[in-house]
Amino acid sequence: MQVKETNEFKPKIVAFCCNWCSYAGADLAGTNRLQYPADVKIIRVPCSCRVNPMFILRAFQRGADGVILCGCHPGDCHYTTGNYYTRRRMTLLFSMLDYLGIEKERTRVEWVSAAEGAKFAATMNDFVATVTKLGENKRLEDLRCKAK
């Protein structure tokens, strides 16, 4: 495998996707060959409500530059109510991160259904562009994890 080194900033993006809607939406984006940057790596969770704020902070600690959480549209949750809890939890968490001066654009929640492959790809493109513009995560970094 040839190695390509570039100096341009490539953000690390963690995307938590619920198994029933958003992960399927991501699959659909793939089936339709819709492009989005390889910087996005998806972690499958049963429901968006499985995502603990600790996971999001952990991602930043370990070097993520952006974290996005995708779930079923409100009202469509496979478990009927999970994403409603997610919505409250993440609203408060993001607001707190903003309060601490951490760039709020680094975190996002997006509702993506299993049919919205195009939306998934568009969302990821947009999110990667936003985070790329922000540059490296400095405010929630853990220097111990950055040192190589």
Binding site: M1, Q2, V3, K4, K12, V14, N19, Y23, A24, A26, D27, L28, A29, G30, T31, R33, L34, Q35, Y36, A38, K41, I42, I43, R44, V45, P46, C47, C49, R50, V51, N52, P53, M54, F55, R58, A59, R62, G63, A64, C77, H78, Y79, T80, T81, G82, Y85, R89, A121, C145
Partner: protein, 663 residues
Amino acid sequence: MQKIGVFVCHCGTNIAATVDVKAVAEALKGEPGVVFSTDYQYMCSEAGQNLIKNSIKEYGLTGVVVCSCSPRMHEQTFRKAAQSAGINPYMVEIANIREQCSWIHKDIWSATEKAIILGKAAVAKVQLNAPLTAGESPVVKRALVIGGGIAGIQTALDIAEAGFEVDIVEKQPTIGGKMTQIDKTFPTLDCAACILTPKMVDCAQNEKIKIYSYSEVADVKGFVGNFTVKIKKKARYVDEDKCTGCGICTEKCPVKNVPNEFNMGMDNRRAIYIPFAQAVPKVATIDANYCNMLKNGKCGVCSKFCTVGAIDYKQQDTIVEEKYGAIVVATGFNPIKLDDFDEFAYSQSKDVITSLEFERLTNAAGPTSGTLLRPSDGKHPHTIVFVQCVGSRDTSGCGKTYCSKICCMYTAKHAMLTREKYPDTDVYVFYIDVRTPGKNFDEFYRRAVEEYGVHYIKGMVGKVVPRSDGTLMVQASDLLSNEQLHINADLVVLAAAIEPDKSARSLATMLTASMDTNDFFTEAHPKLRPVESPTAGIFLSGVCQGPKDIPETVSQASAAAAKVIGLLAKDKLTCNPCVAQANELMCNGCSSCEKVCPYGAITYSDKEFRMPDRTTAIRRVASVNEAVCQGCGACTVACPSGAMDLKGFSNSQIMAEVDAICK
């Protein structure tokens, strides 16, 4: 430490064209725990599966990572393969390098790099995987149907037909429900009683069916396959086993002024009564609110006349406890109260009636023996106005926001029958929209207009004013001719919206079944699981789920029965092993998890613990019912101490994935 095998699939060129699969297999070799790593053309093929199986045996693998297509595609395939090679199926993780990698990236270098990272994340997760065994829970082969209307009856009959025992709990003294009060059914105009009463009798005679009439569900515990239900049998002061239903008591009872609910209060019954001739069970019931003997101990007439000694004034409410494998909710509906619609003068004039009252006025067993007469003066009405959508499609707060669905059709039926029986009557129907989606429905409605000359007027009635001559001035707008109409009517019939029975809300709480804002039970999936509640083992039948006409109700009732039969036919239920698990030592007993659980899968109990300081203490701790938990994980985040974790998607597993991705 696990011994992990990595299997990278080419998927023909689907993956291999954009991901250097050999490089992926090579890179993952160095990951901790990986003892074997290879690539292959088609992992899902039999040869590919054999490669996995053989490697498991050869290298003594304890965990398997397959880098391939989406787990939604072949996770089951690879799990089964692993299982057949002797390792736990849940020791398999999939790295999705097709849908989420090769298909969306064009650049080989970045796609390969991403595939390696996804592979590493899967390896990191599988390191922490634990063998999971799907639990099994036995199924009590008996079903409970709550509500004995046509929905409940049909469900019960179908379940019994399949050979399972089924109990019906009905709060009224007889089963039959609303359909018993209906005269004829649209669009065929066959007599409701003629088709319903045989089914009621079937219920009574079917040895698999037990009817708890005049009873209510008092408490529900347990979970799918194993519910324990307390049924409160309300005291009817008549021994059901002794009473022959001869009806002598109901003729001799001196209290004659009890409003007869069966006829919508339009005539009276006695304090001891049988709701109607075909009641099932045909047993008398004493209305304690009116019975002189029960109120002040003076009377006892019914007891004197009863030849079998069935009267028992000392009877008490009793609680029966039964076990069920499945519960069907068939609690039905009621027309809404029209108190908030004084523009229609419902409470001012006896001649403004609801459609259900109209049914009774045209029914041979009704207060007028089937002759259409005005309730106020008993005269034959010559002009009748039907008003549709009274309280339906109403966002102003007085009524219901939804369409009640059945009113268009029954109003057409009423109008048609009136014109047929009394051709001298003028019949007006005021409508907003006429909705007739159903087999032969629109034809039926058009017949009312075209053959029977019913005046359908597009527009709403603004007000109804009772006049001194006993007529009703109906002021309405005709939107098509753009004029305001004033009609002198003799009778106004209001198509009141229907709403779920009030008892449904408290029942939903007992069942931990969810409801929408209108108190209709929500279905597990609006399209694909319309007769199941999200709560496992709870099924929905009839209007309790949403407005329906009789044929729809019956088909849903049978569908619910089919689901119940499918459940009861199993001896044991296999549970989803990826369920929440409470660490009792860390649990605070705070109930946060219980509050967010959509399934009521979490319960609390006091347990004795040996504390770190070697004392014993009673602590309140959570436990998860694995048969009920569906594994969403809401509780794991609600729990501040992290005592609640989700098997298969544990905190440490997800964080290991995060770490691997962000490395």
